[in-house]
Symmetry: D3
Subunit: 325 residues, 6 copies
């Protein structure tokens, strides 16, 4: 363990409500050059087909992440002892252009990962895994299609929606088509919600993804879900992407398309905590829409999930450095 | 499948937030004459003994039903392929007179059901099943006491409350007394909450209803509850009435008398989805009080439950028409 | 006065909270063919450079317009006695494409005005006057550059913002460039708010508009502002466009870019009521962002301003028909 | 000055947020027998024709009255040095019956005023001045038609609304008809808001009331309004009744029928403070609907207005006792 | 059963929203002299290290306790038939001094318990069990270290935080050090949430407490947790202290340090209901921060938990009096 | 004008919602060493005697200051062309100790001003001007009692409150007693609100301050108020301190002790804009309590007032540097 790693602001000295908000109260740095893991935001929501607002997600998640401490209560992992981590701020986006924004996000992630830093981000709508994966591939951070754990109420594998090929309902078809994501190493978890058509999520099956609907989840039980993820993903480089509407609206009311009957935070936390040992190379938490939940609970829960992804990613970093956790 | 059935507005063409809000984005029609199922509202809350506001329920449920799509994710049922359905608007009510309002509601439902359309409504406080059943009987739509699945935190079978014989705490004693509801074919589910007196819900047992309190529910498990409903109801014409306070306040915060420790949306959805094959001839969702939940989650969940009742009713309609689902 | 004109639902019979919400409780009709005035919505916010949400504006304004009655308390005008008016629903928009949406809006307004109906709309962000004016011109409803009363905290006459030539900060430069709007017959009212640069609103002056900042407004007084509008506009066809951020944030908290120190509702109402006799041919109220004001006050006030524009437009219609008011 | 008068809880000793909430932090007593002034609540809203909720008004006004101190900053009046004042709790109401509730309220006020205590209450919807005046007359507290200062956006002098003769839109026609209120000694202030019909408020003029619409108010100016009240009322026993929608919705968002462009709190306070010397024998503040303003600002402002009425009433009491203020 | 015990206001006569709010609608009395159980509030939050607001907790819990009825639906216990209970108001606190406030709280509880009344209180932040136990000991109500069931997301057994030895993160180390609490008879339930350091909750184990983290809770199951409590506590005098953040934030959003994945209300209710027969001598519910949940759900749930503690305490009282329940 | 001064993030490139929030979107720097003006926060509220929450003020004001642009619309001043300005973060505070916090704040301000940077801060409760002035004096930044423009609903010149000599109701008596503030060069503006005692604000007069109550303000008119400030203050070093409750609650609902009938934002802005030329050496905006206004309007208005103080301070800096504005 290196004592030189960045540490969150010590809340016993500077209270939680103090200082400008950064992700996890870590330093805000302009470059990922010296980082193992770059936390970042993508204030983008032009891929939203429904109620919007996720452009304000990074700001509120930063604010609510003040409440997160350093050590994972189940695994004992303290990511700040394992890796050099900082908040590198937000990707540039263009508020009037989906296309330019996708390009900016791709550039931003390519730069981060070009330095070898693992990208752990907060959205933004759930279009952003597409430019994120493009950026990871372009920089050489990824040299193959990535395994994906995808938490969501919706499959996001439409071919198009609203005459548009790129939006938050199609992103994961695009990533597969572009060879960025390996569908055979993909698990979609939490699908439910009323559907446009009888074959709405058939696309995910046809692409070869392992789909665990809420009906499946309930039937299998949490332990089997965890096992299924491990089996499917193996030791492939794994990207974790969470659309917060995969969680139950009681946990995540502030999102554009809430669907009752979803994953509970406890289950989500325990699933992620049991993915230790997998080769997690980054992840994101998307679709937090602050204007739809001014209480901040959605953002708080998103910050907690971000911490879980951070712990997993930090362990991967540490393993690769030959450190023991 | 008939291509001539009304379809919800296509959200891929006209986004969810667009157009005047109707229930399920269906056409608003002035008469139920050509309908198999009439969706409608009852903006009435003069039967409330507690915090009020359900008069505003239909408006907010219409608005939140924008988020509901066409196909049930568990059963695969698409009600819009099975039956002619529309929003017939709201019953007339008189804001200063409980009595006149009951009469208006009865007339309204008698007219709907006189055309043979199945009534699927949103309240309004939970007094309204009384005039609804009266209307169904008067029109001849019902020619016998109906079986009832009644979801609620409270039994609503007091003889009187506050010197009043007709209100949201007494409605289901009245329906039995008037021969509208068959207590032997009735299941009450979700009862809990502190009580006025030791024998508070004894009335329901005495009337001969099958009562499943939350304590019972937990002990039995969901599957046994479903089985119990099927056994009790059989193939009798079945009316489903949901007071949203039967659900947990985490799901339904916006209601006058929330009681912690209730039914979760997932369980409620799965119970309803497992009632396929029963002879569902209508239903309602009541006690959504929008001013008590400006976030709209209560109304969104109510709209989701309305969809479940709609699916069941549409299958009944289709069976009767000799169609296969 | 014709008794055959559409009337709002009678709230003494069907209470305000009842029935699907339409603008002013008027009938929702699919075509403007037989209308004098078409009320409509534009659920579009892809021109927003800041906090978004106006795509949800038409829905909430419809809901809050339930509270508006029939007769103007200052002028005594009852628009429903003067003209055939209905809610024609919302323009189609494309949630992922600003360009396609502009085209849809233009088409929609061209169709409305092609029937000769005056367009009175609710946004949507304040980009929409551009496609609205394009549509009015294309249909021949307008055959010259229109006079404009433009209420706003911002001038919206930038040449570009965020590398974009068409958005809610540039729309009124575009309308002038395209010959749709006559800057010499334009009054901008309410400008204030901190500025990007020293010459931020210089563009409006350079284009030849009559600019009344809040500093000017206060110095002149309301009566002189009214006089200035009349002098500038004369009997030219006049379009009234209100960005609700022109009003004070106390009145209009739910908008993306609120600026303290703005026009009060009382003054705004009285200015509009004193424009009787001008040749008002349509108008809009924009930038209501419901998620930023779940109380609905912003939408309620927007509905009240819509009513004022409606009264003025109805009087114009009546005058043209040779009716007396 | 008597040192034995009840005093509000001393906030320097027991902080404002402490102790059960009573009106003005005064003792809660079961009888008005020894009081000069009885503060009380009427949790009634069955006379509402629109959005409801005022039944919850007394509770929230009690809570927000924690923030009111003892001395009027403009007049220097300390009512607790002038009269024996307490909170006598709420009138009984029947949640299902307008008629029974009116009877209960009348009884309650008759009892209070039968002891000679001046009634200063909080509603409740604006039907309640009718049973309040009935109670005052029945007990002999009033032996003639009372002068009234009536603040409201609406005249409340319809003959009927919704087939109902007694509700919050008709109460002040009934009081005149029953000889309880002297229309020639009545001033209505603040009328505005769109109207049902051209002659909506004509009734008030026809009854002989002095009507000051917002248009009149603005033209006259505040000083002339005050003068008009004094001239009209003279030294007649004066009852002050405030529907909070008479105030601007910026001050009073939490009410069923808000109308923009109303009286500001500053003007309202100064009007009331300038009525010193009039023979104020009681009053009320009505139509606070807490669910429509969870921030509590409406209730806080209502509590401030209640304090103004209390100061005026206490001075009347003191004058009658031969005390100097 | 004695008919002379205080009863909550009868909501069938005086509706729930009426009368000044007291805990459980019981009489507010100035002294605990004649009581078996004293309900009280502690509007104190100077021990908060995070987001504050619990000083406003007692007021909102009083208000929401209007919704609680008399009889426990699972156990059938009616505490108002078993003991003389009243609301004795709030402890004095000093808003600028933690030290003086602790002293006031201790005095207040010493006085209550000096009369032999069992103290059942609402906070306030979770520092207050320290002065409460001090007061119980000083009065002789407790003559030994008390057994404690402590529900919390955090262990509150730090030695110091923020250079402070007494605050809501250290209180239960102080109580043990001062011999007020028996760690061997203590069960902490619900611990989870990210931690300051790897050994964050080690203090609780080191002190000898029985710690049941959420991980333990889930593994053990609810029945085993109940059994463990019974085994650990035995027939020792038992104090129950609930930091509402021990519950899940879905149930208790309005608290300073919410941690996802906590105890659900249903489980909490059933645990408490299964502690019948234990020697419960008092308890508290803390950390409700009303400004963080203006909907009141947190306070409503807190009121429900207060009722559970009240039922257990009333049964203890009755047993000691030789009464049967 | 120097091009090297820090500039706010360019919102045309990085949208307003992006990047970690700092005051005015300026760089966050750890030291004031190279600054002309240091923007900072004080997340302290242990001096609150009422509803609390201002500890969260700096965070929300930072977030809402995203909406502020660069140039003053009335004066044309662009502070970022006049001075080197940055956000230096928050003062350390101790959440459990008023005394330690005061000491930390004094140290923090002494350090800032020791570098010669002008302190422009956001609170925090309105105790903080005391340690701020102490810090300014200790560092030598101030070498005499400072002139003060003090905006407030309350005089804050009690000798003690709640047995405490230092809190938000006494701070400005302490500053005078300690020779930090010159009462003869002090103007208090906006005083109103009910009072504890008849002589509540007499202290301010007795200390020799120029007191402008709201009654005075209204009588004098805004222009005379501005003139009075100029006359009283002259060219003395001037500190501007704004308790947001000096403004009307319609502008500033989110504060602990709102008083209706206060200063409007427009007037406040114009007063400040007319103080150009005075020798403004720093200032603060206090008492924003975010939990009491989750909409953020209070914080937005506070950020706007902060900008006004910043403009005045920057002009002072520029004048001293011999620059012309």
């Amino acid at each position: 363990m290196s004592v030189s790693f960045n540490q969150p602001i010590d809340s016993a000295v500077m209270p939680r409500c103090s200082q400008p908000a950064t992700l996890m109260r870590l330093p805000y740095v302009k470059s990922a050059q010296d980082l193992d893991i770059a936390l970042y935001g993508v204030p983008f929501d032009l891929g939203s087909t429904n109620r919007n607002g996720p452009r304000l997600g990074p700001a509120q998640i930063r604010d609510m992440s003040r409440l997160i401490r350093r050590v994972n209560p189940t695994t004992g992992v303290n990511p700040y002892n394992l890796a050099q981590i900082a908040d590198v701020g937000d990707s540039k986006v263009n508020m009037m252009s989906l296309e330019k924004s996708l390009s900016h996000i791709e550039d931003f992630v390519a730069q981060i990962t070009g330095y070898g830093a693992a990208p752990v981000g907060v959205g933004g709508d759930h279009t952003i895994p597409l430019p994120i994966m493009r950026g990871m591939r372009r920089s050489g951070y990824l040299d193959q299609a990535v395994a994906v754990v995808h938490v969501d109420a919706h499959s996001d594998t439409f071919d198009s929606l609203g005459e548009s090929k790129i939006n938050h309902a199609t992103a994961f078809r695009r990533t597969v088509e572009e060879g960025l994501q390996d569908p055979a190493r993909t698990v979609q978890i939490g699908l439910r919600g009323t559907r446009y058509a009888e074959d709405d999520i058939q696309g995910a099956y046809d692409l070869g993804m392992r789909v665990i609907t809420m009906d499946d989840f309930e039937e299998m039980g949490r332990a089997a879900v965890i096992e299924q993820i491990k089996t499917t993903v193996g030791q492939m480089p794994l990207y974790i992407t969470i659309d917060v509407d995969g969680l139950d609206p009681m946990c995540m009311p502030g999102t554009g398309a809430p669907e009752p009957g979803g994953i509970m935070m406890r289950d989500m936390q325990m699933i992620l905590r049991n993915l230790r040992g997998l080769n997690v190379i980054g992840g994101d938490v998307c679709e937090v829409s602050p204007p739809l939940d001014q209480s901040g609970m959605t953002a708080l829960n998103a910050a907690n999930l971000l911490f879980e992804i951070l712990c997993l990613t930090a362990e991967t970093v540490a393993r690769k450095k030959g450190q023991s956790t």
